[in-house]
């Protein structure tokens, strides 16, 4: 059993936001128009959080891509009344869209507010539905959704591995954001495998987890920029 995790090196991240765009394309996150966007109804699974603190002349900037951190002790999985979100065999926090009743308790329980809710029917203007990724369902209105670490890629990779009669190898399964990151700032792999780069990098002295004090044990590790203290 692997324990999938990610390392995001904020020292290398250029903040271009390619991860977010790749995520939208990979996971059939529909485009929104201005009105929907202003009403806070965008459903991006991965967003670039950027905070400017202090005054101009000593402004400190904190900026990082934020997606579901797939906590080992996920607050959202406990509170779901129907078990539509839960930690699967390999520790990924799964969301089962067709069981979700849309009570939005999990979205409120998540301290990172990374879960999103389908307020409206997804809009795919004529023709655009042709770029939908057939490996991912188009979530209906009224259910909660979130980053799955591109779990469908895991399903396909695993399927291929079985078909070829072998075990899952390193690099068989990589989320879209990690795959395209032009700066190579994102690393994905098995945290339990001491040989994997991700487990090595997660021991880096720059490593920190978001809101560690909450004890949610996120499986996404950030490396803070060079020369910056927490």
């Amino acid at each position: 059993m692997s324990r999938w995790g990610m390392v995001v090196d904020l020292g290398a991240c250029t903040g271009c936001g390619a991860c977010g765009v790749a995520c939208r394309q990979e996971n059939n996150v529909p485009d929104v128009d201005e009105r929907t966007w202003r009403n806070g109804r965008q459903r991006d699974w991965l967003q670039l959080v950027t905070k400017v603190e202090g005054r101009y002349h000593d402004a400190q900037v904190e900026s990082y891509p934020l997606m579901c951190l797939h906590c080992d002790d996920a607050p959202c999985t406990k509170v779901c009344p129907v078990g539509a979100t839960y930690s699967d065999e390999e520790g990924l926090v799964a969301q089962i869209y067709d069981r979700c009743i849309g009570c939005r308790y999990c979205t409120n329980a998540c301290p990172y507010s990374v879960k999103t809710f389908n307020w409206l029917d997804p809009v795919w203007p004529q023709g655009t539905e042709r770029r939908q990724n057939p490996d991912v369902s188009v979530r209906p209105r009224g259910v909660v959704e979130k980053c799955t670490m591109c779990h469908h890629r895991h399903q396909k990779a695993d399927d291929r591995a079985r078909f070829e009669g072998r075990e899952l190898r390193h690099g068989d399964y990589t989320p879209a954001c990690v795959e395209i990151c032009p700066a190579g700032a994102m690393i994905f792999g098995d945290l339990d495998d001491p040989e994997s780069e991700v487990s090595k990098r997660s021991e880096d002295k720059r490593a920190y987890r978001l809101m560690e004090e909450l004890g949610t044990e996120p499986k996404v590790v950030f490396l803070r920029p060079h020369g910056k203290r927490s």
């Binding site: 009403n39 806070g40 109804r41 965008q42 459903r43 967003q47 670039l48 959080v49 950027t50 934020l66 607050p75 406990k78 509170v79 779901c80 009344p81 129907v82 078990g83 539509a84 069981r99 979700c100 009743i101 849309g102 009570c103 939005r104 308790y105 979205t107 409120n108 329980a109 301290p111 990172y112 507010s113 999103t116 809710f117 389908n118 307020w119 409206l120 029917d121 209105r141 009224g142 259910v143 909660v144 978001l210 809101m211 909450l214 949610t216």
Partner: protein, 505 residues
């Protein structure tokens, strides 16, 4: 044999005749029956007008809900990350109100506060109706209401929401029973006295209960036991509701005192709700003789106590937060105390403490229905704001977010809010057209018992010099020792309405 039994003995006789006789019922109605049943049979213009208005509002809300079902929750003002808003506030608020009846009447019944007799019924009705509306708001809030059954098919018992579903459904059943059982004797009377299309309903509802002494005795036993059971359920319900929030690790939700805090607030708003209804019904249905200053006075005292409790809890909750000065918590705290929610927050403090505390301070005021109306309504507004300022600010100040979130309820939410109140009142009015809002038999029983039982009690409070004759009436309420009745019952007996004893026919 005490007179009460002789009076009761008449009923089985009449009951024994299977077919109800179509003779003019008024002839054989007792005074109380006549006075109380009046509001069932006679309907004023004002009533009709209000009824139509409420019906209209409710219909509008229904339309709004259908609109929401068609277009999705996108028609509400909720957004990311403010995932909960008016609906959940309604839910918490209504369930809070529901503590009116059951708790009050159950506690008072157990403590043998005789003065309760004329208000228990109207309180219990509030309870039952309001639970339904509270639970309904949850369904309205669901993204996919058609999957509601998943809660039963695939339950996850780690979820406070599921605990809630359990406790609320138990509570609903419990309080419905608790409303129904004490109504049986009255149903018998109703069937006897009120004819027309209602009679089959009464017959069906009484389910063969004939109000024979034995039945009555059993019934009272049941009621007493139920009263004992209902109280812990009621407490549990609101504790669990508070846990929906307290079990998360969100700033200003993750609080240990939320359980008692919510229960206290629930009882608080519950009493206020009863008071509102008492004042209104008293005027509307001319029940001045039954809802007397003393009732207002006592409830006022209770209310005063709860006000102080509420203040204490609110203070404790916010003081610890402020002192701890934890950044995330402070963000919420500030937005409540000085930020965008400050107006609501301070209105709440005013409405829940300042107004009631001042107006309840003098007995003359406590006994004045109009003032009590003001107090109770102000408290209910305040409590609604409390629920709102507990739920929304936390969501509007998440730990991490990109843009400053905002929440502005949409017309759909407002309509459904209005519709909930309208619908609730509508149901209440309908109830008033079918059943007495004051428990006749309890009142009569109270009057008949009142005098000598009061005397007995007074004797009971002091070392017994003579033979302990009337220590315990056979067949008094649930065999409770008068000693435990406390001072509450006593004045009831003294100041209880002085009415001509019932004339035999």
């Amino acid at each position: 044999m005490s007179p009460s039994h002789t009076t009761m003995s008449t009923s089985p006789m009449t009951m024994s005749t299977s077919q109800p006789q179509p003779t003019a019922p008024a002839a054989e109605m007792t005074v109380h029956e006549r006075k109380i049943f009046a509001h069932i049979t006679t309907t004023g213009v004002g009533f009709k007008v209000l009824y139509v208005i409420f019906a209209a509002v409710a219909a509008w809300a229904l339309a709004a809900w259908i609109w929401q079902i068609v277009h999705g929750l996108g028609v509400t003002g909720m957004n990311r990350p403010v995932y909960w808003g008016i609906y959940i506030t309604n839910f918490v608020f209504f369930i809070g109100i529901s503590h009116a009846g059951t708790l009050i009447s159950a506690i008072l019944r157990l403590s043998m506060a005789e003065w309760r007799r004329s208000i228990t019924r109207m309180a219990e009705v509030i309870t039952v109706l309001v639970i339904a509306f509270g639970a309904g708001n949850i369904i309205v809030d669901l993204g996919r209401p058609e999957r509601l059954l998943n809660i039963i098919l695939h339950p996850n018992f780690r979820s406070p929401l599921l605990w809630d579903v359990c406790s609320i459904s138990v509570y609903l059943i419990g309080s419905a029973t608790y409303l129904f059982l004490p109504m049986l004797p009255d149903l018998v009377r109703l069937e006897r006295h009120i004819g027309g299309w209602r009679r089959p309903l009464y017959r069906a509802l009484r389910m063969g209960y004939r109000d024979t002494p034995e039945q009555r005795e059993k019934l009272e036993g049941f009621i007493a036991r139920l009263a004992v059971i209902v109280i812990p359920i009621a407490v549990s319900v609101h504790t669990v509701i508070s846990w929906i929030f307290a079990m998360t690790i969100q700033p200003m939700w993750h609080s240990t005192i939320f359980g008692p805090y919510f229960v206290c607030g629930a009882i608080f708003s519950g009493i206020a709700a009863i008071l509102t209804f008492m004042v209104v019904l008293r005027k509307a249905f001319h029940l001045e003789e039954y809802l007397l200053p003393v009732h207002f006075d006592y409830l006022g005292r209770l209310l005063m106590v709860m006000t102080l409790f509420w203040l204490y809890f609110t203070f404790a909750e916010h003081w610890t937060t402020w002192y701890g000065n934890e950044p995330d918590e402070m963000a919420v705290f500030r937005s409540k105390v000085t930020g965008e929610f400050a107006p609501l927050f301070w209105t709440m403090v005013g409405a829940c403490f300042v107004v009631p505390f001042t107006l309840l301070s003098r007995k003359a005021w406590r006994c004045n229905p109009t003032i009590m109306l003001i107090v109770s309504i102000s408290i209910n507004i305040g409590m609604y704001l409390e629920r709102y300022t507990i739920i929304v600010p936390t969501l509007v100040n998440p730990r991490v977010f990109i843009t400053p979130p905002h929440y502005q309820p949409s017309w759909v939410e407002w309509s459904i809010l209005a519709g909930c109140f309208a619908g609730f009142l509508l149901c209440y009015m309908t109830f008033a057209k079918l059943f007495p809002l004051i428990s006749v038999w309890e009142v009569e029983e109270g009057i008949e018992r009142g005098a000598q039982e009061g005397a007995a009690r007074v004797r009971g409070y002091f070392p017994s010099v003579s033979e302990p004759a009337a220590r315990l009436e056979p067949g008094t309420d649930g065999g409770v020792q008068p000693r435990e009745a406390g001072g509450m019952g006593q004045p009831a007996a003294k100041r209880g309405p002085r009415l001509p004893a019932r004339e035999e026919t």
